[in-house]
Chain length 328, copies 2
């Protein structure tokens, strides 16, 4: 990957430091890496997404180390590449910190970004570093090779609705912090060190005909609503089938509370997809054997619109996380 | 350009509004536009850059309307596409505003983003909308077709150093505001409504062999230093040759002050490039006739390193804008 030399100045010294410490990883699609006005990538079809994390909204400094702030923001963005079943090409990191945090916090955040990008197979190919007047802001741009990909829009009545892993772990950590207690190690890890299901998504797309795919960033209820809207169908979630994360069960006061964390908590970065049930069911064992986590059928696609949660004592009106919605 | 339907929620209502108001412009490289987890673009080589603007650092609310905040941030980012002599493909806008500004300020900022993107020939193909705890933050991602492009790294000793337009206009506006006075209309317009020299860059790359190219975002002195570092050469700026913007002359107390604004003020978004002098000189009239602005030779490339400003009373130690540098 070609890197271009920058001129003088403290801002550029910091950027040089970030670039120098990058582990050598293959970057077959990167024609020009950091240092010029743009990076240049080569691929027939490039998937691109941007994901902004703001201190006090997406994370708190008391909850996470700077390295974890960087890891989490980068993984959240890479999860959009998983959500297309695309292959990562590279990551750009735009970071704003206060002037007196440039030497300490910024390199530690960038270290977390680099680590998360490398674990998911993506080099950092560019970015921006600027001063903030207040909160830390990280905006992560992800690029993927979308030669083959799966959209949100192909779900058909009769398909099953499936998820990977278990849901509500990250929400359990936030719930604990908000109650003034320390989250369990499992909950904290789910929140602070998520993984993007990139390999899993590509494996699934290779082995089954996924009709639609999304990652669970806003919570199953809200994200299923996006799938339903994009596909012009209704999605019915079967409450009893939802794989609730143990950490959510442990922290919640009741089964309904645990289910609410799993349905609306968000930030699990698991996958939700639709497909012919028989097509997926035959893969469940191989998936679990390969990835050490489950595939669970959580509902069905019907004619209609919107999302509905079935079950005797399902939480009503369960929506996803909405940045500008009414406070719960 | 394919757009995907989103689910329910106020955040997504806002995004729907942004997308709905987008003018129809050609988007031949956009396979999938807003609404899915990623946008998808198709091009053999894709140039990409990200540019973050933070309230109180890059702009102040007292200086600009929300529409101008969006315009300026988008144009600043598109200027990186000009700096590669690439062709715009699309823009993604990540925006953070306070919760109570979502209905008023956010749509107005997005209007400015859309306008600037459309004027430069780029649709908005995605983005992110989130809550801020404090400042408005806009992060603009730009994508360009880089099938042909010009890097920073090819300047050779003997080349001339050229710029488009005149320099210091935007800095003159900031200077006036900082002195507590209102900038002239020309200075304000240079700061609030810049244009990215995308068409000009492509015309120049088509008509001459540019050996290196950069846009003037940090100021001629700082940006020439980047060209010098990337190319492994020295750049000598001839102070008397620098085309100082009339607004900078008007606002400055002396010729030296005006020159300092032109060399270090930044945010002019003009182009700086190196090429064989004879190759460019023969184009000057045609360029001026086509674009209504000049091409000026401002210096030369020499063996060595760094940037030097020649001239009897040139400002000494003129560096570019550095976010984390010592205050002047």
């Amino acid at each position: 990957m070609k890197q271009t030399q920058l001129g003088r100045g403290r801002e550029f010294d910091l950027i040089r430091g970030f670039v120098r410490e990058q582990p050598a990883i293959g970057a077959p699609h990167v024609l020009t890496g950091p240092g010029d006005d743009c990076a240049i990538v080569t691929a027939g079809a490039v998937a691109i997404s941007v994901d902004m994390s703001v201190e006090g909204v997406h994370f708190r400094r008391e909850w996470l180390t700077p390295e974890e702030i960087g890891w989490r923001a980068t993984t959240a963005a890479l999860s959009d590449i998983a959500a297309m079943a695309a292959a990562p090409i590279g990551v750009l990191v735009a970071l704003a910190v206060k002037a007196d945090e440039a030497d300490d916090i910024a390199p530690r955040i960038m270290h977390g970004c680099r680590e998360a990008a490398a674990v998911h197979g993506a080099p950092i190919i560019g970015g921006d570093l600027t001063r903030s007047t207040g909160p830390i802001v990280i905006d992560i741009v992800v690029l993927g090779d979308a030669a083959s990909h799966v959209l949100r829009s192909g779900a058909r009545a009769g398909d099953g609705v499936w998820v990977t892993g278990s849901l509500g772990g990250a929400a359990a950590a936030v719930h604990a912090w908000q109650q003034g207690s320390a989250p369990s190690a499992a909950a904290r890890s789910a929140y602070a060190r998520p993984r993007a299901r990139i390999t899993e998504a590509r494996w699934l797309a290779d082995h089954a005909r996924l009709t639609s795919l999304i990652d669970l960033s806003d919570g199953l209820a809200g994200d299923a609503d996006h799938l339903a809207a994009a596909s012009g169908v209704a999605i019915v979630i079967e409450a009893d089938a939802v794989p609730v994360h143990n950490a959510a069960r442990d922290v919640a006061g009741s089964r309904v509370d645990a289910l609410r964390l799993a349905l609306t908590g968000g930030e699990d970065y698991e996958l939700c997809f639709t497909a012919d049930d028989a097509d997926v069911a035959r893969l469940a064992d191989a998936f679990a054997g390969t990835f050490g986590t489950g595939l669970t059928r959580v509902g069905r696609v019907e004619e209609g619109a919107g999302v509905r949660v079935d079950g005797d004592d399902a939480p009503h009106g369960a929506g996803g996380f909405d940045h500008f919605g009414a406070a719960p």
